[in-house]
Amino acid sequence: MIVRCRLFAAARDLAGHSEVELAMAEPATIGDLRKQLAAAFPALAPLVPHLMFAIASDYVTDRTPIPPEAEIAGIPPVSGG
């Protein structure tokens, strides 16, 4: 399946895209996405272990399965305030 993941801040700048698309084998988890992101975007790789992920605006873990058409975001450590 095609998985789309939004990226922000340094993650976006390092990947060079605010949204990336990855072709993933099903079933896939967020942990699988993390691995493929690092492989597909070497400049992003050092930051990937520090990303949190969200599906539909809720934080999820590496064990969370990725549903079809999921609204996924890769969230580097936040610094609002």
Binding site: A10, V78, S79
Partner: protein, 149 residues
Amino acid sequence: MIELTTNPIDPQALLARVSSPAAGAVLLFLGTVREMTGDRQTTRLEYEAYEPMAGKKLAELVAEARSRWPLVGCAVMHRLGSLELGEVSVAVAVSCPHRAEAFEAGRWLIDTIKQVVPIWKKEVWSDGQTDWVHPGLDAPRSTSGREPH
């Protein structure tokens, strides 16, 4: 009242929103753009958010604060975009019957906002360098070298 805005934040609007004869204590916290970090000088900050999620998380935090403390009023605003020195980046206002609750709830809200809400700031230093701020990462990520922008 929960708002993400590119317009300047008016603290008076938050105070008006939480003021009530049911409250004996109002607490307002403002985060403001500081010029110096150690010996480095900031020219401005640029904030970006994952807006749908940031709005949802802020609403969840306000709901949790209301469940933990007897809040009469609660208002949170976060600025996005480019901020000059001294400008307000975040404002949290709470009102409660008594002051202990107001201090606790206000402190918890700003601490938790800074931990979980997907908003990021980029330092634009006076030498033209820029750094996204990502707490816990060893080094700041310089993403634009020495080009001012």
